[in-house]
């Protein structure tokens, strides 16, 4: 009886463990389609992305559980549009990067597998999970490594969260400064261009009058 319960539980556990990767959000992309996601993050923040791909099998009319040989190209750009990661991964991949400048980072995925050419009009199902900052920490691992009690681990989690909030506040200050500079630049531009346009208007008016006067005098009409 006990053995049966143990076997049943193990089976259930394995079932959930297997289903776990497919538990993440998924979407469909076309063959050569590029899908980009934006992550606006402060500096020195770690980002971990995990994905899993499944190919549409026309004959079976469903998605294959896993397709070896299918590759995804991952490209990550920093806020200055400089490429910080550009690598080809397999059908299941995990990519990590740490931001060095605060701002909008772009994570782009596209498949460039030659196998896709065989499946004309093929659809690809991509399971994606992107974790940022404090969510990247694996607490059971940290507890085991540093031998922390439950209370210590909870406090560590709180410290990580507070650190993330602090970083975000710093980034907020940097953004507000940029916004203020943009507004002041607009203000300056509106002011100087209005003055310049008024001056141009007056000068062209004066020039027109003088030119026409001399023209009519020359034509002996005045």
């Amino acid at each position: 009886m006990e053995m049966k319960a143990v076997v049943f539980c193990t089976g259930l556990m394995l079932l959930f463990a297997w289903l776990s990767p497919s538990q993440a959000l998924y979407f469909h992309i076309g063959e050569t389609e590029k899908k980009c996601f934006i992550e606006e993050i402060p500096d020195e923040t770690m980002v971990i992305g995990r994905y899993r791909t499944q190919l549409w099998d026309k004959q079976a009319g469903s998605f294959l559980p896993s397709t070896p040989g299918l590759g995804m190209h991952v490209e990550i750009k920093d806020p200055d549009a400089k490429i910080i990661l550009s690598r080809q991964y397999g059908s299941d991949g995990r990519f990590t990067f740490t931001s060095h400048t605060p701002g909008e980072h772009q994570i782009c995925l596209h498949s460039n597998s030659s196998k896709m050419a065989l499946f004309a009009g093929g659809k690809l199902r991509v399971h994606l999970d992107i974790q940022v900052g404090e969510h990247t920490n694996n607490y059971p691992e940290i507890a085991a490594k540093d031998k922390l009690t439950e209370l210590q681990l909870r406090v560590r989690q709180l410290l990580d969260q507070v650190e993330q909030i602090q970083k975000e506040q710093n980034y907020q200050r940097y953004r507000e400064e940029r916004f203020r500079m943009t507004s002041e630049s607009t203000n300056q531009r509106v002011l100087w261009w209005s003055i310049a346009q008024t001056i141009i208007l007056i000068i062209t008016g004066i020039w027109q009058m003088r030119h026409l006067k001399s023209f009519f005098e020359a034509k002996k009409l005045v």
Binding site: M13, F16, F27, I38, Q157, Q197, L212
Partner: protein
């Protein structure tokens, strides 16, 4: 031993969590759908906000595995929708920008499924939490909501900032354009007037004689 094992299994079953937060660009006349497999009885929340583009609005639609529409809103800027999964299966939610002709939108969404995973998945909790531990839990929840507010504030600020930068470039472009048009119009006015009087002189002399 068995009790511990059973508890572990139960914990693994109920630690069915997923929190996906993504920001993506939705081109004009495009529709983007996301799918998630959810177990019956799980409480889920979908939150979305349009960050940049046009009138900052998007169509959103959430369907259950039977195709029944649970949530449908047209041209919404931001919203939050909580529901409990009524059956097992694949839930689908779509964002549509099909009503827009040339503006593409940046949409942020946060799809929370179930609760957070426990910190100690292997722990078997037989006693209640101590005061310290429950204080930690409530601080954790409060900090989570702080981070959530920060995210929404950041998105609003990004919206304002993109409008300000857009305004800045437009002011420069139109000011230079107007100054140029002003010069061109005034010079061509004078030239045109001159051409009237140059032709008229010949016609008047002809009429005279």
């Amino acid at each position: 031993m068995l009790a511990w094992f059973l508890l572990l299994c139960v914990q693994l079953m109920f630690s069915w969590i997923c929190a996906s937060e993504l920001t993506f660009e939705l081109p004009d006349n495009a529709k983007q759908c996301f799918y998630e497999d959810i177990i019956i009885g799980t409480k889920c929340t979908l939150e979305f906000q349009v960050v940049t583009g046009g009138h900052y609005d998007v169509d959103c639609r959430l369907e259950d595995p039977d195709g029944m529409v649970l949530y449908k809103e047209m041209k919404k800027q931001y919203d939050s929708f909580t529901f409990t999964a009524s059956r097992n299966g694949t839930f689908k939610f779509c964002f549509s920008n099909e009503f827009s002709t040339f503006t593409h939108k940046t949409v942020y969404f946060d799809f929370q499924v179930g609760d957070d995973p426990p910190l100690f998945p292997n722990e078997n909790r037989v006693t209640a939490l101590t005061q310290m531990e429950s204080a930690c839990v409530s601080i954790h929840e409060a900090l989570k909501s702080v981070i959530d507010y920060q995210t929404h504030f950041r998105l609003r600020e990004a919206q304002g900032r993109s409008r300000a930068e857009d305004l800045n470039t437009r002011v420069a472009f139109w000011s230079i354009g107007e100054a140029f048009i002003l010069l061109v119009v005034s010079i061509s006015q004078v030239l045109l007037l001159r051409s009237f009087f140059s032709d008229k002189k010949t016609t008047t002399t002809r009429v005279g004689s």
